[in-house]
């Protein structure tokens, strides 16, 4: 059980760290964002909003930092993130609610596809050591992993949308339509999401291929694989059930821990494709110096990553008896 306890400890400490970073940043940074915001709002803001801004940025000098900290925590857990400047006077929470499903859908789908495809290709590459796949894949994907996500997005946009006209230039569905539950709308979403998802898959798949290959090379040298060969089991069975199966867990852990990187890249992809997710919202927040929105976005993305990490940890605990017996 100690494995699970350690992972839960990690989950809560990271969550706390993200919350605290959010609290500390506006207080240690030079300048006074709160004052600037109040000035910008001058005349068209309710006393409650002024109070909320003051709380968020630590302007209530009559309260101690500790008091402010707990008030901030209470606001965060009750979903009171303040008001957005960009979309004034919409509360930040509502804006997040609009963008979150798009980001989760896009990044989630792309990541799962990249993980499955990459793991399979990595397995094949290690199995056929020195074969065609093994000679081509690693160097190709080392180079592709060095591509900036957003630049590959621009490239794909230029080729498939602008030049060939196969896919739309951006956004998540036809702007003439509104969100509804119909087959034609689902088709639009897939059609619009194809290029951004492709970009994320292509840039992130190399990581899975290389780790899977490298881990599998290690497991292929293990005695239980030799034993399986000696028993005369079919190569397919040895590849998937013996060597692959044992190599997949480290890959799964790695998968979860690097989601933060994937999210970072996906934010830029969304910006390139004008995809209405959190990344695109973040850009708008940057342009209008909307600190409340920015910080909540950071928090939400962190929570999304952490939940995925925890899910992968639980899955590992389920699949790997060693984690259950002892830490």
């Amino acid at each position: 059980m100690s494995y699970l306890i350690r992972r839960l400890e990690f989950f809560f400490i990271t969550l706390w760290a993200a919350l605290t970073i959010n609290f500390i940043l506006p207080r240690i940074m030079p300048g006074n964002p709160a004052q600037a915001m109040i000035v910008r709002f001058h005349g068209r803001v309710s006393p409650e909003t002024v109070k909320a801004i003051e709380v968020a940025f630590g302007l209530k000098s009559n309260e101690s930092v500790i008091q402010q900290y707990f008030e901030y925590l209470r606001n965060t857990f009750t979903g009171n993130f303040g008001t957005s400047v960009t979309f004034f006077p919409v509360p930040v929470g509502d804006i997040i609610k609009q963008g979150l499903p798009w980001t989760l859908g896009l990044v989630g789908m792309a990541t799962v596809i990249a993980f499955i495809l990459g793991t399979l290709l990595g397995m094949l590459s290690a199995w056929r050591r020195g074969g065609f796949f093994d000679a081509i894949l690693p160097p190709v994907f080392i180079v592709i992993s060095a591509f900036p996500y957003f630049w590959l997005g621009l490239l794909v946009l230029l080729l498939f949308a602008l030049t060939l006209g196969w896919f739309p230039l951006g956004f998540a569905y036809d702007l003439t339509d509104s969100i509804n539950l119909s087959w034609s709308f689902a088709g639009q979403v897939i059609w619009h999401g194809f290029l951004p998802a492709l970009t994320i898959v292509v840039t992130s798949i190399g990581g899975w291929i290389l780790t899977m290959r490298n881990t599998m090379i290690t497991t292929l040298a293990e005695d239980y694989v030799k034993m399986a060969r000696a028993k005369g089991l079919s190569p397919i069975r040895i590849m998937f059930m013996y060597a692959g199966r044992n190599a997949i867990l480290p890959n799964l852990t790695g998968f979860a821990m690097s989601l933060g990187f994937v999210i970072s890249g996906a934010i830029l992809v969304e910006i390139v494709f004008n995809y209405p997710g959190l990344g695109f919202t973040l850009l708008q927040a940057v342009h209008s110096e909307d600190y409340a929105l920015m910080q909540t976005l950071f928090l939400m993305l962190t929570v999304a990553v952490l939940v995925a990490v925890l899910a992968a940890d639980l899955l590992t605990a389920l699949l790997d008896p060693r984690t259950r017996e002892q830490g």
């Binding site: 030079p30 060095a146 630049w151 621009l154 990581g207 821990m257 970072s264 600190y291 990553v305």
Partner: protein, 306 residues
């Protein structure tokens, strides 16, 4: 931003080095013998040369607004001109300087922090190790780009130093984790026992006994961090968090995007800086991967199929 896959690194027992000259000698020999490393080094050398020779290679002043706007590539303007009439090729050449500088400076800073945190965690062990390890993992998993964006926006100072600092703060954790596991595997080796028995101080043991044996991993981490820096800087500059008047590839992409270069039919403005970022990144990635192969012979390509 490149995906970096985080696995518990296989604890590779580093070959214990016998003489100081041996470290660099072995390193240089294995670097030139590995084809991926050689390709990476050549690419890197090309950009380094370009950065130094920029005033000679570039045909025009990169800032001069003396030409017609949005010219197509031609013999006088190899890559055309920008929306404000600057020569894109000259901008590209001069941008090598800042992009390379950011990569090396941020790579160096991040490596330094990785070494300090990773090695001291492994060496001190116990509660310290637990705390430092947790700290590393927290930084590893936080989505760094939004964090960088927030800090960048707050600082409102678009200088080079801020950019480098932001990248260093968010980029050290991956290396620290790798270094920690290698230092752990070294901790109880005989030559360290011997040093302790001689009564050497911890700092002496870490600097003169542990670190020389981790040289190849540290160099690999430096190139990994430099790759991260190239991509992170490009991303931040692309969304406008760099100095918009500076010359670097990310800033060029920012202006290209702001002028709608793709829709306006000037793909070269977008393609060229991105290609340079990718090529410099690939140089670092290749060298980094080659070091993995050097450190772990099992990964090396096999010549013949069995």
């Amino acid at each position: 931003m490149a995906v970096r896959v985080v696995t518990e690194p296989v604890a590779i027992e580093p070959a214990v080095v016998t003489s100081r000259r041996g470290v660099l000698g072995t390193l240089a020999r294995s670097l030139t013998a590995n084809r991926k490393a050689l390709a990476g080094l050549l690419l890197f050398g090309f950009f380094a040369l370009l950065a130094v020779l920029a005033p000679i290679v570039a045909p025009y002043d990169p800032h001069a607004l003396q030409f017609d706007q949005m010219l197509q590539p031609s013999r006088t303007h190899l890559l055309g001109t920008t929306g404000t009439g600057q020569d894109i090729f000259s901008q590209l050449v001069f941008s090598t300087r800042e992009s390379l500088l950011i990569a090396l400076a941020a790579g160096l800073g991040a490596t330094l922090i990785s070494v300090i945190i990773g090695v001291s965690a492994a060496y001190m062990g116990g509660l310290w190790d637990h705390v430092l390890n947790l700290f590393t993992d927290v930084f590893l998993v936080l989505p760094t780009l939004p964090l960088m964006i927030i800090v960048g926006t707050y600082l409102n100072n678009r200088g080079l130093l801020v950019l480098v600092a932001v990248i260093v703060i968010t980029g050290w954790s991956y290396g620290a984790r790798q270094l920690r596991s290698q230092a752990l595997s070294l901790r109880n080796r005989e030559f360290l026992e011997a040093a302790r028995a001689r009564g050497e101080r911890s700092l002496y043991i870490i600097v003169f006994e542990v670190l020389p044996n981790m040289t190849s991993l540290i160099v690999a981490i430096f190139f990994g961090a430099a790759l991260y820096a190239v991509l992170a800087a490009a991303g931040l500059q692309f969304i406008g968090l760099g100095d918009p008047n500076s010359l670097s590839w990310g800033t060029m992409l920012y202006w290209a995007q702001a002028n709608g270069a793709l829709l306006a039919g000037s793909p070269a403005w977008v393609l060229a800086p991105g290609l340079c970022i990718a090529a410099l990144g690939a140089a670092f990635a290749l060298i980094n991967y080659a070091f993995d192969e050097i450190g772990n012979p099992a990964l090396r390509p096999v010549k013949r199929r069995r």
